[in-house]
């Protein structure tokens, strides 16, 4: 473990500090109960999420699978606190997001959640370093500390040579790695990934997924990944959850991924930059 990895890990609160016990007795990071998100489009009611109940344990790596329009991204947005449920509840780290004010919700997004997107969503006018620093500006971290943490995070994803480049000067894989560095910068407990490899070729996609798994195993982050690629999900996620038409239609424990240890994986894949 490198010094940077250690410091990132030390910055996290002790694992399990905010967990709630579910009926199964397992420590859970996320618990959604009868979660609904309905939109009205003209006269028709669209049930993007329609009564989803699911639990994600602390430190678990879960994949949400489904075809487009199945509601998997909507569920992710609800967990991320970007959207509010029409009914039902999402309890993350013991707090019901439906009850939080807009201000509290933005704090939650800032401190508890890190997000990566299919289209990377880096701010084009900023360099990588500035992009990674941005969440710390909102968190009012001192400039000096901000700078060194952003350097550390970018080094961790192998972009130390690219810090002063703008996103448009980088490849998709590099942009997604920068986005991962940004997602980690405030030491969140939760990493939410919305089709993180959707815009990448398969080789680069594997690189990114290995990084995600590394965060999951070494930093103990809970990962929820939305994807429509079953193969990718089976290779990395410990559990697969299937959605269709806004409803949960099935769940599968992926023993292959669940049984492996992080260290052996990271070495075997040899994909770390």
């Amino acid at each position: 473990m490198s010094a940077t990895e250690r410091s990132l890990q030390n910055g996290l609160p002790a694992a399990g500090a905010f967990e709630v016990q579910t009926s199964t007795g397992e420590a859970s990071a996320i618990h959604a109960e009868q979660l609904c998100r309905h939109y009205r489009m003209g006269d028709t009611l669209i049930r993007a999420v329609d009564g989803v109940t699911l639990t994600v344990g602390a430190g678990e790596f879960v994949a949400l699978l489904g075809s487009s329009g199945s509601g998997k991204s909507s569920v992710l947005n609800l967990i991320a606190g970007l959207d509010r449920p029409t009914s039902g509840s999402v309890i993350v780290q013991g707090r019901d997001l439906a009850q939080l004010s807009r201000e509290e919700l933005s704090k939650y997004r800032l401190r508890t959640v890190g997000m990566v997107f299919q289209s990377f969503n880096l701010i084009p006018s900023m360099t990588l370093l500035e992009n990674v620093e941005l969440p710390m500006r909102f968190a009012e971290v001192d400039r000096g500390k901000r700078d060194s943490l952003a350097h550390e995070a970018l080094s961790r994803v192998g972009l130390q040579a690219r810090m002063s480049h703008r996103p448009s000067e980088l490849s998709g894989g590099e942009q997604q790695r920068a986005a991962l560095a940004r997602a980690l910068i405030n030491h969140p407990r939760l990493l939410l990934a919305d089709e993180p490899t959707g815009n990448l070729d398969s080789h680069t996609g594997v690189e990114i997924m290995n990084l995600v798994r590394e965060f999951n195993r070494q930093l103990g982050m809970t990962v929820v990944m939305v994807t429509h690629e079953r193969a990718l999900a089976e290779r990395y996620a410990q559990r697969l959850i299937f959605l269709a038409d806004g409803k949960l239609i099935g769940e599968e424990v992926n023993s292959a991924a669940a049984g492996q240890t992080g260290a052996s994986h990271a070495i075997r894949d040899g994909a770390r930059p």
Binding site: L82, R109, F117
Partner: protein, 468 residues
Amino acid sequence: MKLPDLTELAVRNLRESVLRNSLTTIGISVGVASLVAMLSLGIGLQQLASRRLMKSGLFDTIVVSSRRELRNFSREEERSGPPPAESRILDEPARQEIERLPNVAEVYPDIRFITELRYADKPHLTTIAALPASAKSRDAFESLQGQFFSSEMAPEAVIQKAFAEELLGKTPKAGLDETNVNDLAPPLLGKELTMRYAQREASPAAPSANNTPAASGDQTVAGASYSVVSRELKLKIVGVSDLDPESMRGPTRGRVFLPLKLAESLHVVQPTDLREISRAASDQPVYASVSVRVKNPAQIRTIEDSIKKMGFNAFSILDATRSLQQFFAVLDLFLGIFGSLALAVASIGIVNTLVMAILERRREIGIMKAIGASDRDVEKLFFAEAGAMGILGGIVGVALGWAIGQVINLGTNVYLRRQSLPPEHFWSVPWWLVGAAIIFAFLVSLAAGLYPAGRAARLDPVQALRYE
């Protein structure tokens, strides 16, 4: 988000679409420039007017007379206050008391008398008045030909144009153009006038042989008996004044002026002397009236009131300054409104620019919210951008307004010089206007940012990030 971060992000955002933001900022600058130009013209004109009034000696002077002096400026004064016979004497202690009032610049006795002057062996009868050294800066002597008195005791005279005409026998005919003072002065300057006057001299009964009777003779002799002696004094004409320095005094105004100290030392018999001889309890000189010069015409009323409370009659041309102040307040208001119109138009430019920026940066706002920016962070960022444009536009605008003022000032003075009129500085940008204009531009910009900032803050991140 902390202020330095906010400013940094705002400035970098402004630089991202530099053309549009520069144009908006130029719009604000033009608005501020027009406001500054209008207001500085108003302020400049007001300063010019009050400078003129101050220098004219009309609006900063209160004429104080004893109530015993029965020749009042108004009927009202005869009825108010104590009866004349019981009221105070305007003597030296009273003069000093008035001088100690706040905002009083100086109090000097009014010495004026009618007497005969001989010029080229021809007698002329006129009113002679004394002037303090401070009168030199008055407007009335601005176009003085020759010069002012060389010292307070110099046997010199400044004569008024009308008297100069009389001396030269050049009485202007009705309907003709006025004689130019430039033509009158050369033959008179340096010439001698012989003034014949009645001096009040301490009676020989006085033990003191001092030849300054008003000061020492009256001190020793309570009865103050004195003799009146006819004297002659040769005066040199040093200046001819174009304007009438004592127009406010109407028929009693002087046409020949002497230095005040010199006039005091002459002890010319004053009309009050005869009346006061029966009383003569005071061991100090008694004045018919004194002139009070105030530091600021705005204070004239309070000073006038305190003088009246002391039991004297007071007179000033006060109402004219009051209505003038009102006029300038209205003028400034109108100029300010017209100047603000351009700024109002510019503020619509800010709204437009920022609303455009929201549309353009929709995704960016969505990203910022997704990674933890609160509504307030986004709102503050847009406010900061509006404020930065406002401050920048304000600074450039003030400079521009100042430059416009300088150019117009210069142009007008070229015109005035062609008309052979003295140059005037009627354009003034005081420091408070510089600060106020920049702050005003800042506040207007913030107000303009209100709607765009609120709209950006309310943006739904899911909508903003929806994959295009």
